[in-house]
Symmetry: C2
Subunit: 259 residues, 2 copies
């Protein structure tokens, strides 16, 4: 039986709301056992870019990362957001260490090849340095990842935080029983989009197909669920989707996904 | 006999000059044995502050760190500068890991008490987490420190990079034979300020007094040298002052200071 590891991804809805962030970090800090936090960047980068007169180009929901945008992202994701989260976790007696993929060479990636769209300095993950991350965990540290990777040749790259979380979960599953938690603004996968409490508590490969046919999983949930099953197929133990409060042991209202 | 450790501090003159930085990082990466890099922030923070309309107040050469300035510093020091240095070191096969004092709780500080001047979020160092930094070194990592600390209660603090370097050297001297290198724009302590090559190659407690009396150590060099002897009195083995190229084994033109 391997040791357990929890990898939790939070996005802008938590990061940008001081009350929510404080609540979440207290819950996260009190989780027992090995854990890793992955955070997105949210609107702060867009706001800073706007103040600096850097135009953020978006195509299909993805930011086009030119040189100036990469600088803004490095400042906000790896600097402001990451270090504040680390300092707040320290205040919660959680010995956090902030990481980009370049730090300790923990996540290598390559610049996305230019196809119909040139995404600029966007990185597609090549691999996770499982032994190094494991050493950090064994040193009693809790890694806090921002959504940045590097190519090993000195170039930092912008990488989607959901992808970083799933790639980390896949990589770490080699030696840990890994559970991946995706926190978002809803309580989980909802049967009825208008009813916040109509959470589907458990999804597996069979029920997934039924939910697809019934049209319950559609739009934005579709890529999220595909991402979850990709991770499960690569030996991640379990994926949970829900509100950040799902880390509260007394909260049972979230979606658990297994194969 | 303890293991050797080199702690090297670079400032704006290296960071802001791409050619100089590339040369320096190649030299640094090729140093044998355990090593730590400490970098200042330089003008980039002032430039960003100015672009964002944040006025940097300076009193006696020290930046007054209000909330907005702290945000700028966190973005530039811990984000842009630190992560780019880490990525460039990785390209030089040096497994660097970027750290603020909050990461791994490696440097705790307290907010400087308000006296005649309110320095804002400026941190005076309380202690260095020698065991944790030692664990990182043993994991094969090369820590790269930016000039930031934390108070353990969630507050990041701005701390002078020279101070971080000397406090690290003092702390690490408990278990390592530590040499502290201060890189700056000159080749060392100069006998004749107008002659770049008139470097005093060796200073000890006795020659230091003579140089003081002769007025050779004055102005900006005075606090630097005081800082060096403070470190030496706290069991740091040796302090070297000179141009970043002093890391080149073939370069012998720099100042070495011992007790």
């Amino acid at each position: 039986m391997n040791q357990e590891l929890a990898i939790i991804k939070i996005g802008g809805n938590v990061i940008e709301n001081k009350t929510e962030l404080t609540k979440f970090l207290a819950l996260f800090a009190h989780l027992n056992g090995h854990k890793i936090l992955v955070h997105g960047g949210g609107k702060l980068a867009t706001q800073l870019a706007s103040k600096l007169g850097v135009t953020s180009k978006m195509v299909g929901g993805r930011r086009i990362t030119d040189t100036e945008t990469l600088e803004v992202i490095t400042m906000v994701y790896a600097g402001l957001t990451n270090k504040n989260i680390v300092a707040l976790l320290q205040a919660n007696n959680c010995n956090a260490i902030g990481l980009s993929g370049a730090d300790g060479d923990v996540i290598q990636a390559h610049k996305r090849p230019v196809g119909e769209i040139d995404y600029g300095f966007a990185g597609d993950v090549d691999g996770v340095n499982t032994p190094m991350i494991s050493k950090l965990l064994d040193a009693g540290l809790t890694p806090v990842f921002c959504a940045m990777t590097h190519d090993g040749n000195g170039q930092l790259l912008n990488t989607n935080a959901d992808t970083i979380a799933s790639e980390l979960a896949i990589g770490m599953s080699e030696i840990y029983d890994t559970t991946l938690y995706y926190c978002f603004e809803k309580k989980g996968v909802l049967k009825d989009i208008k009813d916040e409490n109509s959470v589907v508590k458990h999804i597996d490969s069979n029920t997934y197909k039924q939910l697809l046919v019934a049209g319950i999983i559609a739009d934005g949930m579709l890529p999220k669920l595909e991402n979850c099953f990709h991770a499960l197929n690569k030996k991640v133990n379990k994926v949970c989707i829900g509100h950040p409060s799902m880390l509260d042991p007394e909260n049972e209202l979230f979606t658990t996904i297994t194969l």
